[in-house]
Symmetry: D2
Subunit: 150 residues, 4 copies
């Protein structure tokens, strides 16, 4: 993973600025905590507004943050003429999403000019305990950035 | 699809009551609009609070509603001693999620005692126009209902 | 599904000729039985050479034929300057693959210029009985045909 | 990965003996080359009998060996009263399957009593060169071993 090279020098600023435009992340209460070439972390604190029927965080909220983490991991490697959309993803849920906070790590597994394959994992933290709760495998596509989105 | 039989007569009440406990659905603004044996619809109105960086609804919000639609479709066929959790899902995104509202349809493809396979589709509506925007294939698992959740 | 239009008039010949070059299909004993715009069927007879440890047909053999069925369904809609490769697929196994023959149906769900999303299903037949055994959701990509492959 | 403990002492013999019953592996020419708790390798030499239309090894053959590698990785951790079936898998294809031989590595990511989640990767080797060609994420299920299969 360590040999990824960003395509544009201002990649971190660009990723953080794009993330700030994702209003869903604000609605969920997610924060971007780590941005390096090919890897992005997003943290989601527990909130009573994000639950499923048993009181755990809903699979959809967990998926939202790991999807954004994977998409932005792919974006770190693209020239600023392009942005990223999700072609598809697959997520396995490994344990109930309970904890004080959840950290989604998105990593580029194979970078391509058009399609990139990323791996994502979400870990739940509760005091000193931590547990892997979700695993994602996803295809991201580079698309020409629209003027308003640059 | 039409030959599915609900395992308990109060299945619709049970499904709607469980859905009402999913605080994420309230946060997103989603409503359950249709519940029959083996099929559930959830509607999500467009909201500026649910977007990705280009101004379309975030893939995670779309996934959240179609995941719940598939899970509740599976629940319509289970005895009230059990509830449903998502084992895994895979979603393809077919078109940008733009529109005034989005309807997620979850259908049971194969009902099993422990594992059920469901198909989900999300359609965007804008005036008279409609477009399929997401396709889900998912495995749901029946788990013993916890006392507090019954 | 019925409104798909083939991009070139000789699409059926082209699909069958390409299938004939897939030596794995010959090795497995598979035959292409139906080719219309957006839909292709491939039949696999039971064979003692294709089994897993319990005596059922191996998931990989079932996947091979439904992958080819989906890929060729996508190819029916492409100009003859392009061919198709599998970007990714996801398969759920619904019942043990036992029967005298297996029919894989691949259908285009959404045709795109570069990426197409297809759905596949494999049904086992045994005398008068039939059972759905596998469900596929897949992304296919159009790539420029190499001279030797045209 | 290194902290996996096999559930029965004869796990390697059991895994190899089961693999030997998978006639599809013999048909493809695959060999099991490595068996440790939670991880299994299967090697597939190039063969002209396994190709798709462009002369690369067919995605279905690659999937077959990595599916078996993941399933047997899960089996290393199960008591000998149980065996493993594939619930579902998802595979991304990263590069054309060309090379002299292909090594599929299956690893248990999360071991469960009923469901296990495994990751698989296939690498193509050609002389000194190697390239990752496929990535799998899969759900395996433990089922009671049938008498004849024990």
């Amino acid at each position: 993973m360590s040999d990824f090279k960003p395509a544009c020098p201002g990649f971190e600023h660009r990723v953080r600025e794009s993330f700030a435009r994702q209003s869903l992340m604000t609605t969920l209460g997610a924060r971007m905590t780590h941005v390096v070439p090919g890897e992005v972390h997003i943290e989601l604190p527990f909130s009573a507004a994000l639950l499923q029927q048993q009181g755990f965080v809903h699979a959809g909220a967990i998926t939202s943050v790991v999807d954004s983490a994977c998409g932005y991991a792919a974006l770190t490697l693209l020239p600023d003429t392009h942005e990223v959309v999700s072609v598809e993803f697959k997520v396995n849920f490994l344990n109930p999403a309970k904890g004080a906070r959840f950290v989604a790590v998105g990593r580029v597994f194979k970078a391509g000019r058009t399609l990139s394959v990323c791996s994502g994992e979400v870990t739940a933290f509760d005091g000193d305990a931590k547990k892997s709760i979700a695993l994602m495998q996803t295809t991201m596509m580079a698309v020409a950035a629209t003027p308003s989105a640059v």
